[in-house]
C-alpha cells in the first residue's frame, strides 16, 4: 500500500482469539450462537422494547429474554443503560469462555475497546419523553447518569475491577465492532497490552427504529440481503466481545484458540454522510488484505455487511466483485438472521467468522427467495454449507463513510 509502518508487519506478535462472548437475538453464548448460525435461525420477532403504535411495520431482532442480573454482579444493573449492560455481559461471557478470571487480568495490561452506534441514546430518549409528558425541562437524573456512551467501555473495567486498563468507546456507527477488534489486534500485536477485550454493543432503541423507518429502509417482516425481493433492514440489538491474546501467551496457558486475527483495514469514503461508495469499500478491502498479508485468492468466505437495503447490497457486492474479480468466494449476510445490531453487528459477525473457521461451515443468508440479477454473488442461500475455511473476511460499512474490514484465519492453517 506504499505505507512505511513504524512496526514491520513481520515484527508483529501473532494475535489469536481465545474467548468469545455473544448475546444475540438467535442465542446467548458460543454454543447457542453457533447452533443458531448453523441452523439459519431467525431473530425476527415483534418489538416489545417500545410502543410501536402508529408504525406500519413492527418487527425487529430484539433480545427480550436478556437478563443483565444473570451476568453483572458488582455493579448495579439498574444504574446501567442497556447497551452498557450488553457490553459488560458479553465481556463476562467472553472471559468465562476464555477461562480467564478477572483476578488473573487484574494486574495485566489490558485494552477494553467497545464499538457502538447509538451508545446510550436510549437514556436521552427517556429524558426527552419525560420532559414532553410533564411539560417541564426537568431532567430524569438516573437516566442522565446512565446516558454517557463513554460508560460502555469503562464500566466493563469497573465490573471486573481491573486496574492497568485502557477503556475506550469507539462510536464509529455500524462499523464500530470491527474498529474495536482491529484496535485490539494492533495493541496486542504491538506488545502494548497482554490482552484485549474488544467488540461492540447496541440496544434495540425506538430512536434507531424511527430513524430507519423515516429513511424508508425498515423491512415489514424479515431481512433478505442480496435478494431481488429485499425490502430493507430489521433493527436489532446485541453484544459481542472477543478475547485477543498474544499467541505465545495463549499457548503457554493452554488456551483454546478459535482463530487468528491476520489483520484489518480502515478507509473513509470522504464523499457522502450516509450513502456507501464502491471505491471506498474496495479500497478498504485491499487495505485489509495488505495489512493481513493475504490476497483475494486466499479468502474462502466473505461475511458481508449485507444490510438488505438496495443501496448497500448492490454497492457492496460491486466493490467485492471489483477486488475479487475471478476469485469470488461465497458471500453471506448474518443480518438475515440477526437483523442489524448497529455497532454490535460487525462484532457479532466477527464472532460468527471465528466460529465458522473453527467449526467448518459457512453461515447462510436466510430468507432467500430469488437472486438479484444485479448482484452476481453466491450468497449461500438459506442453508449453512460445510466448508474447510482457512481465511475469512468480515466487512463493515458505516454512515460517515467509515469502512472497516477484518481478516481472520484458521489457526494452524499454515498462513503465517
Amino acid at each position: 500500500m506504499g505505507h512505511d509502518p513504524a512496526i514491520a508487519t513481520s515484527a508483529r506478535r501473532r494475535v489469536v482469539i481465545t474467548g468469545i462472548g455473544v448475546i444475540s437475538s438467535i442465542g446467548t453464548g458460543v454454543a447457542e450462537f453457533t447452533e443458531g448460525l448453523r441452523a439459519g435461525r431467525s431473530g425476527a420477532r415483534p418489538i416489545t422494547a417500545f410502543d410501536t403504535a402508529g408504525f406500519a411495520h413492527t418487527n425487529a431482532c430484539g433480545i427480550p429474554d436478556f437478563v443483565p442480573e444473570r451476568w453483572i454482579s458488582r455493579l448495579n444493573p439498574g444504574e446501567l443503560g442497556r447497551a452498557t449492560q450488553l457490553s459488560i455481559a458479553s465481556t463476562i461471557l467472553a472471559l468465562r469462555d476464555a477461562r480467564l478470571t478477572p483476578e488473573r487480568l487484574r494486574d495485566q495490561r489490558a485494552l477494553i475497546a467497545v464499538g457502538t452506534t447509538y451508545g446510550e441514546s436510549g437514556e436521552l430518549d427517556r429524558i426527552v419523553a419525560r420532559q414532553v409528558a410533564s411539560g417541564t425541562p426537568a431532567v430524569d437524573k438516573p437516566a442522565a447518569a446512565r446516558s454517557a456512551s463513554s460508560r460502555l467501555s469503562i464500566d466493563v473495567a469497573r465490573e471486573l475491577e481491573l486496574t492497568q486498563t485502557e477503556a475506550v468507546t469507539i462510536p464509529t456507527a455500524c462499523a464500530a465492532g470491527n474498529y474495536a477488534i482491529g484496535y485490539g489486534f494492533d495493541v496486542v500485536a504491538g506488545g502494548e497490552a497482554d490482552v484485549a477485550l474488544c467488540g461492540g454493543a447496541d440496544a434495540l432503541l425506538r430512536m434507531t427504529f424511527v430513524t430507519f423507518y423515516r429513511l424508508g429502509t425498515i423491512a415489514p417482516l424479515i431481512c433478505q440481503p442480496f435478494d431481488r425481493n429485499r425490502k430493507g433492514i430489521l433493527t436489532g440489538e446485541g453484544g459481542a466481545v472477543l478475547v485477543l491474546e498474544d499467541l505465545d501467551a495463549a499457548i503457554a496457558r493452554g488456551a483454546h484458540i478459535y482463530a487468528e486475527v491476520l489483520g484489518y483495514g480502515l478507509a473513509c469514503d470522504a464523499r457522502h454522510p450516509v450513502a456507501p461508495d464502491q471505491e471506498g469499500i474496495a479500497r478498504c478491502i485491499s487495505q485489509a488484505h495488505s495489512n493481513a498479508g493475504t490476497g483475494p485468492w486466499q479468502v474462502d468466505y466473505i461475511c458481508a455487511h449485507g444490510t438488505g437495503t438496495k443501496a448497500n447490497d448492490v454497492t457492496e457486492a460491486a466493490a467485492i466483485c471489483q477486488v475479487f474479480a475471478g476469485n469470488l468466494p461465497p458471500v453471506s449476510s448474518l443480518k438475515s438472521m440477526l437483523g442489524h445490531a448497529m455497532g454490535a453487528a460487525s462484532a457479532l459477525a466477527a464472532a460468527g467468522c471465528a466460529l465458522a473457521l473453527e467449526n467448518g461451515f459457512i453461515p447462510p443468508t436466510i430468507n432467500h427467495t430469488e437472486a438479484d440479477p444485479e448482484i452476481g454473488i453466491d450468497c449461500v442461500p438459506n442453508l449453512a454449507r460445510p466448508a474447510e475455511l482457512r481465511v475469512v473476511q468480515n466487512n463493515s460499512l458505516a454512515f460517515a463513510g467509515n469502512n472497516a474490514v477484518l481478516i481472520l484465519g484458521r489457526f494452524g492453517a499454515g498462513l503465517a
Partner: protein, 364 residues
Amino acid sequence: MTAAGRDQRGGLPAAAPVITAWEVYSPLGHGARSHLAGLRAVGSVRPGPSVPDFDVREILGRSGTRAMDRAAGLAVATTRRLLDRVGTAEAPLGGYASEDVGVVLGASDGIKSVMDFLRDTWTRDKPYDVDPSHVPRTLMNFAAGQCAIWHGVRGPNATICGSHATALLTLNYARRLQRNGHAKAAIWGAVEELSADRTAVESARLDGRGGRPPAEGCVMFLLEAASTVAGGRPVAAGGRPAVAQVLAVEFGVWSGPDQIRDALVGCLRRALMRAAVRREEVLAIAPLSWPGWPGSAERAGIADVVGDAPLLTKTADAIGDTGAGSAAFQIVELLAEGAGLGRVGVVTTVDGEGRVGCALLRIY
C-alpha cells in the same frame, strides 16, 4: 526492529511520533494566535463559555452546512485552519496522499442533536415525522466524517469517546494508527459543543457534586513520523519541525474515590518508565483538576510521582469544562508554557467514570 530494547515491554518505538502543528477554536478566540493571546491575557479578560462569533454557516458558508451541528462545524473549521497551516494549493494535506492521512476525532454524545431529533418524535403528528437530513448528526461519528468530506481525507476515519480522558485516548489511537502502518499521518483532536441540553444533562449527572461550568471548543493536531533531527529537534518527513514528541500515553482504572491516587501514581510511573524519563526532566504538568475530590486525588498522585513541578490549570479555570476536549486544551497549555525548552510536559486526567490517564510530551 531497531526499536527493540525500550520497546521490549511494549513501549513506544525509538522513533516516537511528533506533533508538528495544531489549531484551535475556543472561547479565547479563533485560531492558535488568538487563543494563546487570550491565555496570556487571562485575568484581565473574562471569556465566556462559548466560542465567540462562531456561527457554523457564517464560518463555513451556506453550502453543506444546513444540517451541521456545532460540534461538526467546530471540527471542520479547526481542521481547515490546521490544513491551511501545513498545506499548500498543490499539497493540501501537507504533502501526503489523501488515503495516507487519517482523521481521529474525540467527541462526546451529541446530546443536543439527539435530543432535538427525539423531541420531534414525541411532539409531531407521527413519531417518524422527523427531518431525515437531521439523521446523520445524531451519530457520534458525524463530525469526523464531515472533516473527511470537507477536506478530502480518505485514510482511516475514527471517532473516540471516553469522558474527560477522550483526547488522551484519541492521541493514543492516532499514535497507533501511524505506528501500525494504517496511516502515515493523522489529523487528530477533540471537540465539545455547548448547548442548553448538554448543560442540563451534565448538571443532572453531577447531581449537586461540584464541577466546572460547561464550555466548548475544538483543538486539532497533526501527528506524523519523525524522520530526522535538526538542531536537537525532531523533524517530520515534510520538513516540519516538531512542536512536541509523544513519549508515552498511559491509562488506568479506579473503582472508588480512594483508589484514584494510587491509580494515577501507577499510571504516571508506567509512563515515565516506558519513556525512560526521569522525574527531574518534567517541566510542568497540566492536570484536568476537576473541582472537589477528583482534583485533590489527582494533585496528590502527581505530587507522589513528580514532586512539586508547576501545575497548569489556567485554560480550564478561565474557560470552564470543555468535556471531551479537555485534555486537548491541557496539551495546548503545556505547549504554550514549554515552547522551545526541549523539556518534558505531562498531561493528566481523572475522569468521573473511572479512568485515569496521562501523556508525556517532549516540548520543542
